[in-house]
């Protein structure tokens, strides 16, 4: 159920925002179909447009930044190089190691700025919807990173060698392995993509929900509250602004953490010994 301003004004009690607020109606012509007991849209939605826009914008920005390269960089080239250098050095070289990090820099670089822009869409005026609060988008990214780090490891160590590397901790012998191997397999192969996806998704989801709650709650207190609680509505709106700034930081941090963990997993899959 979606609430418009008029609905909130018309309703008597306060309706807290919920997961339903993230079901944006499709743009343009659409139809719905039933599958797995749920109804699905067959059409274009806002997050879909955003994810394509983010890809195009990131490409356009860094293409423009690197088009007219000069020894003395201009402003645009400087920003592009600073962004590239940040991912290359602090995420690529420091974690994967100077031997074979260059192979992965394009992947990490594209991933970081793609996720960063998608997260910042939650803050950019007139867009204000985090793409990654739709879980499907995040599952695709997590699946991609799962394939990348496993494929890299299998290519380097062979299938058996890679499984041994990921499941047998170095220096462990004897019956304890019966316990350790399934646990390590679970944590290193099976659970990683889920925590990776859930972390990004739930952060964006919870952050946006918090902002909706403060905005709608403040509005409700201000308009429907008695004279005594009206100032609380103003406080709620002030907090809303403060949290919006905190969210900008969190959105950056989550993009960083996602790519950091990707790099860690790749470096773990490439390592010779633990």
């Amino acid at each position: 159920m979606r609430f418009t301003g008029a609905d909130v004004l018309a309703s008597e009690g306060f309706e807290p925002p919920g997961p339903a607020d993230f079901d944006l109606p499709p743009i343009g012509p659409s139809s719905t179909f039933e599958m797995f007991g749920q109804s699905f849209y067959l059409g274009l939605t806002k997050p879909m447009l955003q994810i394509v826009m983010a890809g195009a914008l990131v490409f356009w920005f860094f293409y423009a930044a690197s088009k007219h390269r000069a020894m003395v960089p201009g402003k645009l080239q400087y920003v592009g190089e600073a962004g590239y250098g940040f991912v290359r050095n602090s995420l690529g070289r420091d974690i994967i190691g100077s031997r074979d990090f260059m192979r992965f820099v394009p992947y990490l670089f594209a991933l970081f700025f793609f996720i960063l822009l998608n997260n910042w869409f939650a803050t950019i005026p007139f867009i204000q919807f985090p793409t990654m609060s739709r879980s499907g988008m995040v599952y695709a990214l997590a699946a991609l990173s799962w394939i990348v780090y496993n494929a890299v490891g299998i290519k380097k160590h062979g299938f058996g060698g890679y499984l041994k590397l990921q499941t047998v901790p170095a220096g462990m012998k004897g019956p304890i392995l019966l316990l350790l191997i399934p646990l390590e397999f679970m944590s290193n192969i099976l659970v990683r993509p889920f925590t990776l996806a859930l972390r990004l998704f739930a952060n964006m989801f919870a952050g946006h929900l918090l902002l909706i709650l403060f905005a709608l709650g403040g509005e409700y207190l201000l308009i429907h509250g008695s004279a005594l609680v009206k100032p609380v509505g103003v406080v709620a709106w002030l907090l809303f602004i403060a949290i919006a700034f905190l969210e900008i930081l969190i959105q950056f941090l989550q993009a960083y953490v996602f790519v950091l963990l990707n790099a860690m997993y790749i470096s773990g899959a490439l390592s010779d010994e633990h």
Partner: protein, 72 residues
């Protein structure tokens, strides 16, 4: 206004579940600040480790909020 409270107990459960990760994240950054105060030149190395630890501790809170909605 009457004394009635509506809602899901899940959210109380989530609030309780968030205490653990909250303490964990606090400890991680306390250790990070300590480390940087003692050895400022190690900041670059410690930062990565601190953020990694923060992300892992935070995962518990995040799984909690996901389950609070899913099981609601």
């Amino acid at each position: 206004m009457n004394g009635e409270i509506n809602g899901s107990l899940n959210m109380i459960g989530y609030g309780l579940a968030a205490i653990g990760p909250g303490v964990g994240v606090g400890l991680i950054f306390a250790a990070y600040i300590n480390g940087v105060a003692r050895q400022p030149e190690a900041q670059g190395r410690l930062q990565t480790i601190a953020i990694l630890g923060f992300a892992l501790a935070e995962a518990l809170a995040i799984i909690g909020i996901a389950l609070a909605f899913v099981l609601g």
